[in-house]
Amino acid sequence: MEDYKFLFKIVLVGNAGVGKTCLVRRFTQGLFPPGQGATIGVDFMIKTVEVEGEKIKLQIWDTAGQERFRSITQSYYRSAHALILVYDISCQPTFDCLPDWLREIQEYANSKVLKILVGNKTDRDDREIPTQIGEEFAKQHDMYFLETSAKEAENVERLFYEIAAELIGQARSKDGSSSAAAAAAQRQSEGSSIGLGSFSAKAAQSNCCGGLASGGSNSSQGG
């Protein structure tokens, strides 16, 4: 049996070509894949990280952005612990579609799911969406915010590690650290994951939002 304390499901969504697959590969394999094609349906990757001394297994679902895969990708929203909504900072249309994506999330995802807005491709110099616009949109819709570059490996690790840390916090605040760990360990021994149930009753924590959001503005100052 693998040795980990929590298992979290993270689902990436967003228009085709915004760089979801690149973000995942950068994080899981440490590389920027040259010329890989559009994702078909969904892709699946696992990475185990260590946060606060705990081994965390992250199950990452990379969905296809193309419209015709929508009925496949929608079915994964329900079980997600965190949803990463990605747009391309150098492509206005990908930002304009965000409300549509939010509608989908609203319809299919758990209402308490952790939502993160990510503006990708900060390495490009033809930026069309200023950081502040992205940040405001995120704030309006109760999402965390971060700008990344899969190409330059900027903020990618941070994105996933902060999600892991946030999810641990939620899991602990839900049932108290020891029993949560025990429950996780038990589920794990049954070969199953932490179900939706353990999250559905989590208290809304607005303060954590500050962590990631301010992270976003920090990075904009840096860049």
């Binding site: 078909i40 009925s71 994951s193």
Partner: protein, 776 residues
């Protein structure tokens, strides 16, 4: 010590001393002589050894010179071998040149034969012959020929003339064959088409041959497909497979293409063998045509089966109800996506028709997967037998790319999307319908909807499997989990939420209800009865569903393994993860059962227990012997109590599932002990009263233990220990029980020392000071 020193050291003052010294000297001498003799005796041996060494020395000299000689010989041999092998190499080279020369001579001879033959053959329009000559010519090394032509310059028979003739002939034949081929195509003369198809590679036009032939076939297939598509409905009617009309046409199209590859593969291997990309070139051109034909077919399919219209309707009905569900700010609703069970919109979209369309789509999708697999296998066999190893991978790679980027692939992704939309709609509507039509027969513990819902869900997953798509299967499993966790769990929970109708939460409510009923002159028992039955049935449904989920997952796991025998690790993990998520719905069902049990506890068990336990206070536990005898002769409290409990449990025994009944007994046991403990604290006991209590608690314990297969022993521990305390003969006896070493059969104390003291004070014959003095 030397003799002189010895002499010096000795005192030789007296005669005796001199004699003694002399004697000693004589002894020494004798010893020395002996030593000398033994040394001399070794002389011979040593001399013999010395001479032996001398002899060996001379022998060594010979060895040295011999080895030097050997060394020289080896060096010589090596040089010799070197020069021999150089000669051999030169010989080999010469032989090569000779054979090359021979080849050139052969080529030259053939060149002349060919150049003469080709002209004649062309004149006679014998294309095979001329092409064979040309093929021979093309097989010659053209550069070498040119050099030969230079070498033999001035010779009477000009090589370059022959080359020129053949080059011209090649050009001419190429054009001619292409023309003849086109003519044959125009005349729809299959024999000639095939004839010239085989000639193209001889004149070095592999690519042209493959292209022209493939296009010819495409054209033929296009005509056929067009005709068949126009008659799709008629054909289907004739075969009485109307509901699979388009799936059948698609199958026919794909079979045609597969057959073309199958039939022509050996021909291509025989005639186009040298060009290893020939078959994949053909597949590439054919795929293009296949894409077009499938596109036309799907256009007809979409039109005839009203796919757009139906998708729109499904989407609209989903969105409308989703909006309604959200605005209701339904707090139990974990998911935003929800439709009212009243739904019934499945009637607008005829479920039978949708069912048929779904079936047709799954067949279509499966056929395409089969087609891709067939083509891949054909090519695999082809490259393994006919293609040099280093090119094999590239060709297979090219195949995967062609298929991945084909319009057919894209179309199938679209159609899978339609399938998933309709399948989800069908599943959700059918489940809502099953919930709406829920019925149960009296005497049954569960109602129809559990079987119905799980039947529907299993059908959906099975149908997803027939698409042969892992992505599709995963999506349907996800949708099944969402449906169970949403509509189904909500349907189970709804009656549980309103509570168990019999129990009145408080007395005032009960009083009011009875008053109203009395005023109206009747008790609405039938409504309450129905409500009670429904509550218990849904509780049982939830319980049995946890088993059904397990079974469903197990069955599906096996069927998935059967459907996808070869999966990549990622695919395997995806399927596993989705199934795990489905299994996790069990937790929601268990929570539902727990919720219902808590409802029973608060609305049935607690209010009913209350008056019975109060009876306990009416029984004195301060008894003398006479009173004890009288008490035991009459109806004791525990007899009364057990009769009541038995009546309560019996009213549930047949209507609850075994597991739920056990859970109920367990809750009852907990509640009984809590309330009884509270009552005990309200009265006082003497020695005999304590004895009676102990008997009562034992009787209660054995009754409850007998009522369930679960263990309620640990729930009884605390109350039993209280009874033990109150049944003590003397207060000093406590130490026998208190120390764990002293009572192996008794479980560890569930009472704190303070509690022990409190309970002991209930015995009116125990003195407070004694209790205080207890060492606990």
């Amino acid at each position: 010590m030397s003799v002189l020193e010895q002499l010096g050291a000795l005192d030789i003052g007296t005669n005796e001393q001199v004699d003694e010294t002399l004697q000693r000297i004589a002894d020494e001498e004798a010893k020395v002589n002996e030593k000398l003799e033994s040394l001399l005796a070794k002389q011979c041996q040593i001399e013999a050894k010395m001479s032996g060494i001398g002899r060996s020395l001379s022998l060594l000299h010979t060895v040295d010179s011999d080895s030097n000689k050997l060394n020289d010989q080896i060096v010589n041999t090596a040089q010799l071998a070197e020069s021999v092998s150089a000669k051999v190499r030169r010989l080999d080279l010469a032989r090569c040149r000779a054979s090359e020369c021979q080849q050139r001579v052969h080529d030259l001879i053939d060149l002349h034969l060919c150049s003469q033959g080709v002209v004649k053959a062309i004149g006679e329009e014998d294309y095979e012959k001329s092409a064979t000559h040309i093929a021979r010519f093309l097989a010659m090394d053209q550069q070498l020929l040119r050099r030969t032509a230079d070498d033999v310059q001035g010779s009477i028979t000009s090589v370059s003339d022959a080359v020129k003739t053949l080059e011209d002939a090649t050009e001419k034949t190429r054009v001619l064959i292409a023309k003849r081929f086109d003519e044959a195509v125009k005349a729809d003369d299959l024999a000639s088409v095939e004839r010239f198809f085989k000639i193209f590679p001889l004149v070095g036009c592999h690519r042209t041959g493959i292209e022209k032939f493939s296009l010819y076939i495409c054209q033929k297939l296009a005509n056929k497909a067009q005709k068949e598509l126009r008659n799709a409905q008629d054909i289907a009617k004739a075969e009485s497979r109307l509901q699979l009309a388009y799936a059948d046409r698609l199958t026919a199209i794909l079979e045609n293409f597969a057959r073309v590859v199958e039939v022509n593969q050996p021909i291509i291997e025989a005639f186009y063998g040298q060009a290893s990309s020939s078959l994949i070139d053909m597949v590439s051109i054919l795929q293009h045509e296949c894409d077009t034909e499938v596109k036309n077919l799907l256009m007809e399919f979409n039109k005839n089966r009203q796919i757009q219209y139906r998708s729109k309707q499904v989407n609209e009905s989903t969105q409308r109800s989703a909006g309604g569900g959200n605005l209701g700010s339904n707090s139990i609703q974990a998911l935003g996506h929800y439709r009212k069970p009243s739904g019934g919109s499945v009637d607008k979209l005829n479920p039978k028709e949708i069912d048929a369309i779904i079936a047709e789509i799954t067949v279509m999708h499966a056929r395409v997967e089969l087609y891709f697999r067939f083509m891949r296998r054909r090519l695999q066999v082809h490259v393994e037998t006919c293609v040099p190893e280093k090119e094999q991978f590239d060709i297979m790679e090219r195949y995967e790319k062609i298929m991945k980027n084909s319009d057919l692939r894209r179309q199938m992704q679209e159609i899978l999307s339609t399938y998933l939309l309709l399948e989800r709609y069908f599943m959700e509507e059918s489940v809502l319908k099953a919930i709406g039509l829920d019925t149960y027969e009296s005497g049954q513990q569960c109602s129809s909807m559990v079987d119905d819902v799980f039947f529907i869900l299993r059908k959906s997953i099975r149908r997803a499997l027939t698409t042969q798509s892992i992505n599709g299967t995963c999506a349907v499993i996800n949708n099944v989990a969402a449906c169970l966790d949403g509509d189904f769990v909500n349907a189970l929970k709804a009656p549980l939420k309103s509570g168990y109708p019999s129990g009145y939460i408080d007395l005032a409510q009960a009083y009011n209800a009875i008053q109203t009923s009395l005023q109206q002159g009747k008790l609405h028992s039938s409504d309450a009865d129905r409500g009670r039955a429904n509550f218990l049935v849904q509780l049982n449904n939830a319980d049995i569903s946890t088993e059904y989920i397990e079974t469903l997952c197990q069955t599906m796991e096996q069927e998935i393994a059967g459907t996808f025998p070869q999966t990549t690790q990622v695919e395997r993990q995806m399927l596993d993860s989705c199934l795990t998520e489905l299994k996790a719905v069990r937790d929601a069902l268990k929570a539902t059962v727990d919720f219902g049990m808590q409802q029973l506890r608060s609305s049935v068990i607690k209010p009913r227990l209350n008056p019975w336990i109060n009876q306990f206070l009416n029984y004195s536990h301060n008894l003398n012997e006479e009173e004890l005898a009288a008490y035991e002769a009459g109806e004791t409290f525990v007899q009364f109590f057990i009769v009541q409990l038995d009546g309560l449990l019996n009213s549930f025994k047949n209507s609850l599932s075994p597991r739920n009944y056990d859970a109920l007994v367990s809750i009852l046991a907990t509640e009984v002990t809590i309330q009884l403990e509270r009552a005990i604290k309200k009265i006082s006991f003497n020695r005999l009263g304590g004895l009676v209590l102990d008997q009562e608690v034992r009787a209660l314990g054995s009754y409850l233990t007998g009522a369930t297969s679960w263990s309620v022993r640990d729930k009884m521990t605390r109350i039993s220990q209280i009874a033990t305390l109150l049944n003590l003969d003397k207060i000093t006896e406590l130490s026998e029980y208190w120390n764990p070493e002293n009572n192996k059969e008794m479980s560890s104390w569930h009472l704190t020392p303070n509690e022990v003291r409190t309970f002991l004070t209930l015995r009116n014959d125990f003195r407070i000071e004694d209790i205080k003095r207890l060492q606990l």
